[in-house]
Symmetry: C2
Amino acid sequence: MAPQKGNLMTFRKDIKVVDATIRDGGLCNNFYFTDEFIRDLYQTNLEAGVDYMEFGYKASKDLFDPAEFGKWKFCHDEDIYDIVGENDTDMKIAVMADVGRTNYKRDIVERSNSPIDLVRVATYINTIPSAIEMIEHCAKMGYETTCNIMAISKARKEDLLEALEMIGQSSANAVYLVDSYGSLYPEEIRVLSEMYMEKMDKYGKQVGIHAHNNQMLAFANTIEACAMGVSMLDATMNGMGRGAGNCMLEQLLGFLKNPNYHMTPVLRFLEKHMDKLREEGVQWGYNSAYLLTGRLNMHPRSAISFTKGKRHDYARFYLDLDQE
Amino acid sequence: MAPQKGNLMTFRKDIKVVDATIRDGGLCNNFYFTDEFIRDLYQTNLEAGVDYMEFGYKASKDLFDPAEFGKWKFCHDEDIYDIVGENDTDMKIAVMADVGRTNYKRDIVERSNSPIDLVRVATYINTIPSAIEMIEHCAKMGYETTCNIMAISKARKEDLLEALEMIGQSSANAVYLVDSYGSLYPEEIRVLSEMYMEKMDKYGKQVGIHAHNNQMLAFANTIEACAMGVSMLDATMNGMGRGAGNCMLEQLLGFLKNPNYHMTPVLRFLEKHMDKLREEGVQWGYNSAYLLTGRLNMHPRSAISFTKGKRHDYARFYLDLDQE
């Protein structure tokens, strides 16, 4: 195993914190955030020293009915401008674009005409060529890009290595290690981080991590990847995100030693907005059902449904999962 | 760093799982468990393959008023016999004895007349000689013993090394790495585990870990210590324990590969008992207040009070903590 990068007393200048609250959190409430929430989130991220704020998806309205989702499912440039103005700050604006769900040739225009700085292209291992096509379009339009390979706990190592090689040769600025099912243990994260780092070092690209909390390991896995040299770190307010949610921004900022990062604005945001969202019935976060899908390396959809149904029959649920 | 012991495909025969639900969980409800709860817990632990079940404290009734606590604060032998009979099983029975709070010469009798197998002596770093005196008494009475050094995140390394040396030379069978404040990160746990292992290997003793979940790292820290060779692993049902609680037994059994361990009985216990305890108002588990005391390496008492008071003003709480 490669030696650790950095230690608990110092900080690494290459680290970038990415707030993905709207994007991953939006999966919990169909992106129905109030404008006040989004404006406060933008202001909080600025004060907290967050490096990138992800606004949501650039989903195609040909595929998704705008009546069924809040506006951050689509992330029109004008909606972002409405929040950030010219965004004359050090914080960059990101969006996510799913392979096959984004009409990028129509909806992703020249960066000089857009508030967006970074397009994160989300793909499964079997659609890497389509992802790279989208990345090349975005790069040509002037954007920073990342390639976020999802569900890697189901991918074969040889496919993953091939995908990393292809991304290495593309215009992508970084590749993300994404533990979609929250099934990876820290020792697996270390091995994967080393694999990603080795490939990307060769091409001078960064590696990022996007962890899920199904086994209560999102924070642990994020800081383990970080220790291995991974430098783009995703987190969300109070971990808001699909199912068991993500690494919590308050945990991550509390861990990082860069004096540019500040935890207190995040705590104020939690007080004002996140506890309220929970009271309103928006659900996310660890429970025993997510532990079970995570342990079985399965998509959390059945655990989400178990949780929504207020079920408590974990043993029966586990038996059913195991027979799937 | 020493190489990892074991891997994710195999299992280590030296690993012992210790259920500490009554003892650490009892701190959440003053040890007022129903007999049905305790009987079901005993049965569940047997079915799950748990190696040691800790019943509670051997606290002195001279110091603690029996009217203020349930019986597992005191763990009379007859109360344990009442649950386990002769305990003609492979699972051993443990109790905890705090230095200075146990009248061990009176209350800890010959093992042959007791249902207890293991006495875990809990001590701070500055009372090691008293702990060893108690350990020697218990060893002479025929018990297995461990020395659980609490709050080590506040201890100086040279004191810790000296303490480990003293315990190494004592009759203790094992020493515990105890993260009382839930403030240690996995990379610190690895360093400490290596230090403990090196000292104890010399004396042929085991090392254990008792983690707390203040920074949501109890499970992560437990499996990291395990990977370094630590072999006595504490966990509790759904993590029930003081403040943010402990490593969850269901997580730990889901992680370990020994076919003797079974998760389903634990899931059934969660359904029947743990969700109910929460509904009745017993509180434990991670929240943002524990993150803050954990991060500041402080005792969780102020976070427990914050939580009980249903406060949400995290930023103010953080400021107050930081000024203490």
